[in-house]
């Protein structure tokens, strides 16, 4: 989230789209209700009338996978009716930027498309720059090549009638939503978006979020209280685990995973560090070298020296374009290329799309290590349905882990608050905290490599002093290493730091090896002041619910990101009633300012507010993504319509399509005539691997079901409570039919399209006859930027079992 949970109370219009917050983030509704108490409006846009919809002032249905059509229509409405916040747009976004002459868009394709590679040459989307390297601008926003005019031109096709025919949303409902949300395009109104997997699990997932980012920038909702782009993340520490980079393409703190063409540290740094010719742009990522070197020091300690590139050679390098994300990982495993597998606190047998492929893939492993607190479909895959243990050679190690209350450490919520939690008791039986398990395992691996082996250096040199005097894993030691410390005596300005001192905050990190820091964005979390993540102060000086003394938020305890966009050029809040920051007596008061630079009216020292982009401006035009600088509607890979009504491009032209025997997909196929989607329920969590073992929760939500409309039930002769079979190109499952008015058929012009929905919290291991995972049905096709699978829109059949 750019903002945080309590901040929702500061909104005037709350759009919940791609999320059912009431069910899946129930306590968030406390803050939604507080906003409603002062007159805020809640809008719910969802294929199904959900528990959130039941609390909404406005509900609009839309067919799964058509959010860009819906939002594109909203962008058109805002521009056509001049509902945008002009001062904000001109001064803080790239609306005035001139795009180079090579840029074009025609019939669903941007300039630079290579059909064979299924990829764009993004160089054709570059801005026009002067000979000093500064982007050309037209502050009047009239130049036809200005981002503003290109934006207007792009969404001109997204008329309410066209949008309605694609989304199935009646035109009056579209207009209700557009009108309500556009009221936030003024300086004293705040609009927020709460979204989740309903937006990200699509082949156009990233562009869904981009579309809303454009709306938020047009309305001046970025950086203000009650505004922002707010992802409701799904796991207690998925924010933290992402920050720490348990992903193939990044290193801790969102540094890039190095590539084979970057053979030296210098090459890696040069290619990763963005440059800006504009002195008014902070371009915060220009500090990249400091974070890289500090990270390497945290991995390899004293063994990382200037002479050996701080151990850069010890990091694995990807080949250019090599993508090791989830869908590719299990594809490689299915092809027998992966021999050993750690499934550590995760249940891929039920959680990943096309779960049959995942389960079969695991049967090809030599060995699997499953660390978890309960038995699950992954660790026990070899005795699952359709598996013959006698034919499966995979060795499986099931390691029992401690539950959350049986260990100490921090987790980061969706609002970037890193909160420390404490151990109440030891884990039962032989169960151990994950920290102890990984610590011991690496000690043993290091022990084996002492005698030699392939390329032992990175293993032997890995700094691994995370145990206390008794040999137990110590979370405090790790937390301090993540914050970082000085590796030698250093003088910065007039302050003298000693070797071993914790680094106070990341502006003090160095590129010369004198600082070690496991994750620059967590620098300040545990410093000389102590464990800031454990703080419990209830002060709220601004009254906006920032609670600056409760836990610690990254970066540098800033609670609302881009908050220097919440003020005018002189540093006065757009909305004095909700001042996030304010320039007074030569300094900022309120939240930690997003960059300490003075307001932009200061010609010499003022800086643009969007400090994490190289240019310093919010991006209406986003030239860095794989599928285009403007979101464009494409149909899901499996969809119910014969063509895309907005262009000749049926599906996203840059997605990877797997072609193996397990990778079947069918579109507009009479065997699978209904749109299928997946979602969650309050009583279960993710695959249910924890909650299905709990009698209290299973009693409330006992078995797999599919929600279908009355119209579809009639069509198929299904009654509420009947046992039905739901099938897709990839698998099938039996479950109970829930006939409901929450789904209604979509009218897409002359075409009637039915949609059904299922939770994905069930699995064969428990309860008996409780049902299987809906991920047996979902397609393994992903967004071209993130490779998040399209679990929210695919085609199924529903028949009486």
């Amino acid at each position: 989230m750019t903002n945080h949970w309590i901040d929702i109370k500061n909104s005037d219009v709350i759009l919940v789209m791609g999320s059912n917050a009431a069910s899946n983030h129930p306590i968030s509704m406390k803050w939604v209700q507080k906003a409603k108490d002062h007159g805020a409006k809640l809008i719910s846009v969802d294929p199904r009338f959900t528990q959130t919809s039941a609390k909404a002032d406005i509900y609009a249905p839309l067919r799964s996978g058509t959010d860009i059509a819906f939002l594109g229509g909203m962008i058109k409405y805002i521009l056509d009716n001049n509902k945008y916040f002009a001062d904000y747009v001109v001064n803080y976004t790239n609306a005035a930027f001139i795009v180079g002459d090579k840029f074009d868009f025609s019939d669903g394709l941007f300039a630079g498309y290579n059909a064979e590679k299924r990829a764009y040459d993004k160089a054709l989307w570059a801005y026009k720059k002067d000979d000093k390297g500064i982007v050309a601008k037209d502050p009047s926003l009239k130049d036809p090549k200005s981002v503003f005019q290109l934006l207007k031109k792009h969404y001109d096709r997204y008329t309410p009638e066209k949008v309605s025919e694609i989304t199935g949303t009646p035109v009056p409902d579209l207009m209700k939503v557009y009108e309500a949300y556009a009221t936030t395009g003024v300086k004293d109104k705040a609009g927020t978006i709460l979204y989740a997997m309903g937006w990200t699990q699509h082949t156009i997932g990233v562009q869904n979020i981009r579309a809303m980012s454009i709306i938020q920038l047009l309305c001046g909702n970025m950086g203000i209280a009650g505004g922002g782009v707010n992802a409701l993340r799904g796991e207690s520490n998925v924010q933290g685990s992402t920050d720490q980079a348990l992903l193939f393409h990044i290193l801790p703190g969102y540094l890039k995973a190095p590539v084979a063409t970057q053979q030296t540290l210098e090459e890696y740094i040069a290619q990763s560090t963005p440059k800006s010719a504009d002195p008014r742009s902070v371009n915060w990522w220009s500090n990249y070298p400091k974070y890289t070197v500090s990270l390497l020091k945290s991995f390899w300690g004293d063994k990382a020296t200037k002479e050996n590139g701080f151990g850069y050679a010890w990091l694995p390098k990807l080949d250019p374009g090599q993508n090791c994300s989830w869908l590719n990982l299990f594809d490689a495993m299915y092809d027998g290329k992966v021999k050993g597998f750690f499934s550590w606190g995760q249940n891929p047998a039920c959680s990943g799309a096309n779960a049959n492929k995942t389960r079969k893939a695991m049967a090809k492993l030599d060995w699997l290590v499953n660390v978890n607190i309960f038995d699950n479909e992954t660790g026990s895959f070899w005795k699952g349905p359709g598996m013959d243990p006698k034919k499966i050679k995979t060795e499986v190690f099931m390691l029992p882990a401690a539950a959350s209350i049986e260990k100490e450490g921090s987790i980061s919520n969706s609002g970037r608050w890193a909160q420390w939690r404490y151990k109440a008791v030891d884990a039962p039986g032989k169960a151990e905290p994950d920290g102890d398990i990984m610590y011991e395992l690496m000690v043993k691996i290091k022990g084996l490599y002492k005698a030699g082996g392939k390329f032992p250096d990175p293993i032997m040199n890995l700094k691994w002093d995370y145990a206390d005097e008794k040999g137990h894993f110590d979370a405090h030691r790790v937390a301090k290493a993540i914050n970082g410390s000085f590796t030698q005596d250093v003088k910065i300005g007039d302050k003298q730091y000693k070797k071993g001192d914790q680094v106070p905050a990341f502006p003090l990190l160095q590129a010369d090896g004198s600082t070690s820091c496991g994750n620059w964005i967590y620098c300040q979390s545990y410093n000389a002041d102590g464990n800031n993540m454990a703080r419990r102060k209830k002060d709220d000086p601004t009254g906006l619910g920032l609670f600056p003394g409760w836990s610690w938020a990254w970066p540098v305890n800033r609670r609302i990101l881009y908050n220097r966009a919440s003020v005018d050029l002189t540093g006065q809040p757009w909305n004095p009633a909700r001042p996030v920051v304010k320039w007074a007596d030569g300094k900022w008061v309120g939240d930690i300012p997003d960059g300490p630079a003075p307001p932009m009216a200061d010609e010499k020292a003022g800086k643009y507010p969007f400090i994490m982009t190289a240019e310093g401006f919010g991006r209406l035009f986003g030239p860095g993504l794989n599928d285009g600088p403007f979101p464009e509607h494409y149909e899901p890979l499996e969809c119910p319509v014969p063509k895309n009504l907005l262009s000749g491009q049926f599906v996203n032209p840059t997605i990877k399509i797997f072609k193996g025997e397990m990778d079947k997909h069918f579109t507009c196929d009479p065997r699978f005539p209904f749109v299928g989607t997946t979602y969650r329920v309050t009583e279960h969590w993710q695959t249910g691997i924890m909650t299905r073992w709990q009698s209290w929760l299973i009693e409330a939500q006992p078995q797999m079901f599919v929600e279908i409309s009355h119209e579809l039930a009639k069509l198929r002769g299904i009654k509420d409570g009947d046992k039905v079979k739901v099938s897709s190109a990839r698998g099938e499952l039996d479950c109970v039919a829930m006939v409901t008015t929450r789904f209604r058929p979509f009218q897409l012009g002359k075409l009637t399209v039915h949609e059904v929905g299922m939770p994905w919290c069930f699995g064969w291991i428990t309860p008996k006859d409780g049902g299987e995972s809906s991920n047996l049905l979902t397609p393994n096709v992903g967004d071209p930027n993130t490779m998040i699978p399209e679990s929210k829109a695919f085609m199924v059949n529903v028949t009486k079992a």
């Binding site: 992966v338 995760q346 660390v371 395992l441």
Partner: protein
């Protein structure tokens, strides 16, 4: 003692109706024993409280654990009224957090191993399991390590071992996992954030 929630509701419903419970034929023995236990806990000087954050969604609600330090058991978990986000409220999952403790006999408490082609688990020791896993990590890594790619560039990576997980681990566990897996040369490193 074991008292199901259903039993408790049945009994409290009867009491609420003002009926003499024993006249309904309900055996008050277990209830009395349970109430006596609760009284003992109240007076226990060995009880301690600690705060925690919910392990489920990413709202980050606060909870308070009450622990009988003598019996080394958590005896209650409820919402933390001081927490600014949830102010003591919890959803069904957080409210049931007690069922993630040792009280739930479904908890995995043994180190288990499944041999090739076997249809059952064998119980093992930690030392055995971690030693055997370490041996396999080394064997697989040594046999499949890629020093140079097809272009002759130094890549020092390992594609034959993959890792997924976890968004359920603490920051102080996620980070060492990353350090460890990168030091081993893994590139297939993924978790819940990707799906």
């Amino acid at each position: 003692m074991t008292m199901t929630r259903r039993d408790f509701l049945k009994i409290s419903g009867a009491v609420g109706a003002g009926l003499a419970v024993s006249s309904l034929g309900i055996d008050m023995g277990p209830v009395k024993a349970y109430a006596d236990e609760l009284k003992k806990i109240d007076k226990m000087k060995t009880a301690k409280q600690s705060t925690t954050i919910c392990p489920y969604c990413a709202v980050g609600c606060g909870l308070i654990c009450s622990t009988d330090t003598k019996a080394k058991r958590i005896i209650n978990i409820e919402g933390d009224p001081d927490h600014p986000i949830n102010e003591g409220a919890l959803c069904a999952k957080g409210a049931a957090l007690f069922q993630t403790t040792a009280d739930n006999t479904n908890r995995s408490t043994k180190v288990l191993y499944r041999a090739p082609n076997s249809d059952k688990w064998q119980e093992k020791s930690w030392d055995w399991a971690l030693t055997e896993i370490a041996k396999r990590v080394k064997a697989t890594r040594d046999a499949n390590f890629i020093e140079k790619n097809a272009k002759g560039q130094v890549v020092n990576r390992l594609e034959a071992i993959a890792h997924v997980g976890s968004a359920a681990l603490d920051n102080e566990e996620c980070w060492p996992l990353v350090a460890m897996m990168r030091a081993l040369g893994l590139v297939y490193i993924e978790h819940q954030a990707r799906i």
